[in-house]
């Protein structure tokens, strides 16, 4: 970035929801007041984000140095287009999600709702922190905070299964971040003396390709939130969480943070040029491509709806990393765009799954035959969501995938193009049957006869997100411009 201004806004954005924790936990006895706080914080955050839009689109980085920890390293925020894009996705999805949470939680009379909302808010500010992180240390700090604050959400049910899932979740994330990212970060600091992101990469030409390869692998797998195989299995494991949490995990906060970190490292620490010079981009592509195909294949075989969605998430995330790996401006732009597109699509799908569960108590796809007539809105939204994830018009997903394809063609990475197309077919293959069965399938289960739509609080948000993902197809500019800026054309 050429010039930059110093402003408290990034800090304010991070702090809004973090501070919201206090009133939320204080007003635990009065649910309405509690959720009022949640929404206030959400809207405030969004307003602040919009205030950042104007300078960033002018190509000005908004800086704020929070604290000097080590000589040469400080906790500081620096908002660029990519970060802003991600922050927008996260914050704009927070509001519908929490609306949905209310519906879901009250619908099922969940326990410890206050704890839930508090951690929810904390997780969101951690996400914002990751989005605005100006250097690797800051990124790492907020990454850890996110892992810790989402742990209570994952283990929310507190029964044996939930505990196992939660333990798996936290162990995977902490183990990888401490075991892989920390040494990589320290080695980087020792070699270069800095951790600041720069589009040129910070290693320079002195570092040997072998070292670079090791560091790259450490980073890629270290941010295990991005669910690269073989470090993906925490993701299905975390499916024990209540549905809104899975929605949050898979669409908004956690996995996207993982991917975001990977992109940051690839573009900001290594730098596209060095990668393509040392052919490391191919490594990334291979890892991501394999993950894409394998996860899609596994998804085909799942009958539990949420598990199937989870594996589809694993695949979609690797699209994003793949895009970055192609080291080509279209593809990178597509990757960044895919973060938002997939977010809207996938959150719709999860909300649908949750709504189905609330309304009919069904988890398994085989039991959803004919439910489409009983709850048309839900399944309509489900259709749109799956379209978006597969990447077909008229849904936003189409644009990002299109950009990715253009990238592969421009980079003349034919195998990758094959991967993309093939996996899209696979996506179609594991989404459409659900919808088809729901609408035209014969032999509806007897206990499903008198199922109605889920409560409004559940249905409204998912329709909302579905509509948004269609709107994004017609009018992708806000995200598109940001992505374009981020790629820097």
């Amino acid at each position: 970035m050429s010039q930059s201004i110093v402003s408290f806004t990034p800090l304010a954005i991070v702090l809004t929801s973090a501070l919201a924790v206090i009133p939320i936990s204080l007003s635990g006895r009065n649910p309405n007041l509690r959720e009022l706080w949640t929404f206030l914080a959400g809207f405030l955050k969004l307003m602040l984000l919009f205030s950042l839009l104007e300078p960033v689109t002018k190509g000005i980085a908004v800086q704020f140095e929070l604290w000097k920890v080590l000589p040469g390293v400080s906790l500081h925020f620096s908002v660029d287009a990519f970060g802003l894009l991600f922050a927008f996705v996260a914050c704009s999805l927070w509001i519908p999600t929490s609306l949905y949470v209310i519906g879901y939680m009250r619908g099922l009379k969940e326990h410890a709702q206050t704890r839930f909302f508090a951690c929810f808010a904390l997780a969101l500010s951690a996400t914002a922190g990751v989005a605005f992180a100006g250097n690797l240390l800051t990124l790492y700090v907020f990454y850890e905070i996110l892992s810790l604050s989402t742990f209570p959400l994952v283990a929310h049910h507190q029964d044996g299964e939930a505990r196992t899932g939660g333990r798996k979740y936290l162990t995977y994330l902490l183990a990888t971040s401490i075991g892989l990212v920390l040494p990589a970060m320290i080695i980087t600091y020792q070699m270069t003396g800095t951790l600041e992101f720069s589009s040129m990469g910070i290693y320079g030409d002195t570092v040997k390709p072998g070292t670079l390869l090791v560091l790259l692998l450490l980073f890629l797998y270290g941010f295990a939130k991005s669910g690269l195989m073989p470090l993906h299995s925490w993701l299905p494991g975390a499916m024990v969480a209540p549905t809104p949490v899975s929605a949050l995990l898979h669409a908004v906060a956690v996995v996207k943070v993982g991917v975001f970190c990977n992109l940051r490292v690839i573009t900001g620490i290594f730098g596209i040029e060095i990668l393509s010079k040392t052919y490391l981009d191919t490594v990334i592509c291979v890892i991501a491509g394999v993950t894409v195909i394998v996860s899609s294949l596994i998804a085909l075989s799942q009958d539990n709806l949420k598990r199937r969605l989870a594996f589809s998430t694993v695949g979609q995330l690797s699209y994003i990393i793949l895009g970055a790996g192609l080291a080509q401006s279209y593809a990178v732009k597509g990757a960044m765009l895919h973060i938002s597109m997939h977010a809207f699509g996938k959150i719709t799908l999860f909300m649908c799954a949750g709504a189905i569960f609330v309304a009919s108590g069904k988890k398994y796809i085989s039991q959803m035959v004919g439910l489409g007539h009983k709850m048309p809105f839900t399944f309509g939204a489900f259709l749109i969501g799956s379209l978006s994830v597969i990447g077909l018009p008229p849904a936003g997903g189409f644009i990002s995938k299109w950009l990715l394809l253009k990238g592969t063609i421009a980079a003349e990475h034919w195998p990758m193009m094959v991967v993309l197309l093939g996996s899209s077919l696979l996506n179609a293959a594991y989404f459409f049957p659900i919808v088809y069965q729901a609408f035209f399938g014969k032999g509806i289960l007897p206990e499903n006869e008198n199922v109605k739509e889920a409560p409004l609080a559940c249905t409204l948000p998912l329709c909302l997100t579905a509509v948004i993902s269609i709107v994004l197809f017609v009018y992708p500019e806000p995200f598109l411009t940001l992505a374009t800026l981020a790629v820097g054309e």
């Binding site: 920890v69 507190q158 401490i178 920390l182 040494p183 320290i186 080695i187």
Partner: protein, 498 residues
């Protein structure tokens, strides 16, 4: 007055101890307040001393007014000033914390307890501040004797554990004394700095080498480095709560400090890393200590015992860091001396208050602890995060420096050991937090707001305050790492390091 601060640090608690004996023998109730006042005094003078010291300068205080090699001298540079502040702070916190547990556990020995407590602190402070090798031995023995007594007050199995500690501790102290003797016979001096100036003329003398061996082994026994760690877990586990809160954080750390003194003030970094080739051996010891401590900790069901094994592992951190022979590694060690002191005291206080409430510190006693004693568990979480090494707690930064040092001297085994141990810590604390957080299944909880009805029995305020002071100190220290390192640690790093 200003030039008297160094000696005040030591003699204030010493006088407090005497007053405690005389007053406490007739009126035990006055003991704890007196102890707190005395330790506060010594803490304040320690801070004053620290602030007096500019970058890299040394305050020399002549006891009895005789000039150094002939009289005993106190040498304060920012290294021991930092340790002094840490020790006196921890002691102060524990003294405040101790009130209720002591009343509960050692009802009719209160005055004895506080006298020994304050004398132990005196010994540790004296060891830290003195510049005279033999004076160090005497204070070492004071600290040792008091800790024997304090540990043995735990009754039952504590006696045998303490007896083993007495035997091993005496061996350690005697080895130290023997090493000092060998140095004396070659140099004719007892003042560490003076010896340090004479030794370079004696290159190639086996006596000096053997003396170094005896000094090191002696100190290692005292700090329970693998393979001399046998006495530690039992001795600390069966001790009374307040005792283990005081002894566990301080004893080992001060011994580490002494090791640094011997290595870099008496001997020189150049001699240690270029003349003699011990580094590989010691690194192996450190690595084994870390791994072994971590894995034994995994096997424990009693949290207090688990922590004692973690202490063994932490010793491995510090020894390894110091022996990497890099500036970064040594920085990490010095920083970790303080960080670990604070973490350990925080965690032990948490365990102490759980024991105070629930009787013992098994996993079972942590069930539902989050509902019944939320504040205590909050402190536990912060301490645990620091143990795991999650920023911005100070545990993260000590690991940062240690790993950097190991990377520079390419001791990759040490790096791996560090990472493994922090993973093990992660697993351990996840287990505890899980039991404390999610032990109740929804079925057991009648209504959404159940946790408001669960009986709230958090530890008394007199225990919560020091606990939280230490917990917050962890975070504050982490945030001020840059300050501490650049202002106080970097200026005193000896030459001859990578």
């Amino acid at each position: 007055m200003e030039q008297q601060y160094p000696v005040l640090i030591v003699i204030i608690p010493m006088f407090t101890a005497m007053v405690l004996t005389l007053a406490g023998w007739f009126k035990p109730a006055v003991c704890q307040p007196l102890a707190v006042v005395g330790l506060l005094g010594s803490f304040l003078s320690a801070v004053a001393t620290l602030l007096q010291i500019g970058a890299g300068e040394v305050i020399s205080y002549r006891l009895g007014g005789w000039e150094p090699p002939f009289g005993i001298e106190y040498r304060v540079d920012s290294l021991n000033a930092l340790v002094l502040v840490m020790v006196s702070l921890v002691a102060l916190l524990v003294a405040i914390f101790a009130r209720k547990p002591v009343e509960k556990e050692l009802g009719n020995k209160i005055s004895n307890f506080y006298t020994l407590f304050v004398l132990l602190v005196t010994g540790l402070l004296g060891m830290t501040i003195t510049g005279d090798a033999f004076n160090l031995y005497v204070l070492l023995e004071i600290a040792a004797l008091t800790s024997y007594a304090l540990l043995a007050m735990g009754r039952g199995r504590a006696y045998m554990a303490t007896f083993n500690y007495v035997i091993l501790g005496t061996i350690g102290a005697c080895f130290y004394l023997l090493g000092v003797g060998l140095l004396l016979i070659k140099t004719g001096s007892l003042n560490m700095a003076d010896i340090g100036t004479i030794l370079p003329k004696l290159v190639g003398s086996e006596t000096v080498l053997v003396a170094f061996g005896f000094l090191m082994v002696g100190v290692w026994i005292k700090m329970a480095l693998f393979p001399f760690h046998g006495w530690l877990p039992n001795a600390y586990t069966y001790a009374p709560t307040a005792t283990s809160c005081l002894v566990a954080p301080l004893m080992t750390k001060v011994s580490v400090y002494i090791m640094l003194r011997i290595m870099f003030t008496v001997y020189s970094a150049d001699w240690i890393f270029n003349v003699i080739q011990w580094k590989p051996v010691v690194m192996v010891l450190a690595v084994v200590a870390i791994l072994m401590g971590s894995f034994f900790a995994l096997a424990q069901r009693d949290i207090k015992r688990m922590l004692t094994y973690l202490i063994v592992a932490e010793i491995g951190y510090m020894v390894g860091g110091a022996w990497t022979g890099t500036a970064a590694g040594l920085t990490g060690t010095i920083y970790h001396i303080m960080a670990d002191g604070l973490m350990t005291v925080c965690l032990f206080m948490v365990i102490g208050s759980v024991v105070y409430r629930k009787g013992k510190a098994h996993f079972e006693s942590f069930k539902d602890a989050f509902q019944s004693m939320p504040w205590t568990m909050g402190a536990l979480i912060i301490g645990g995060l620091s143990m795991i090494g999650v920023p911005p707690t100070c545990g993260f930064f000590s690991k940062w420096y240690l790993i950097s040092g190991a990377y520079q001297s390419s001791d990759y085994a040490f790096i791996v050991a560090l990472l493994i141990s922090s993973l093990v810590n992660a697993i351990l604390f996840i287990r505890i937090v899980e039991t404390a957080f999610f032990s109740a299944t929804p079925s057991e909880i009648p209504d959404p707001h159940a946790h408001h009805e669960v009986d709230y029995a958090d530890s008394p305020v007199s225990m919560l305050i020091p606990m939280w002071v230490s917990a917050l100190a962890l975070i504050a220290m982490g945030l001020y790492t840059g300050e501490i390192v650049t202002r106080w640690i970097l200026p005193i790093l000896p030459g001859g390091l990578i």
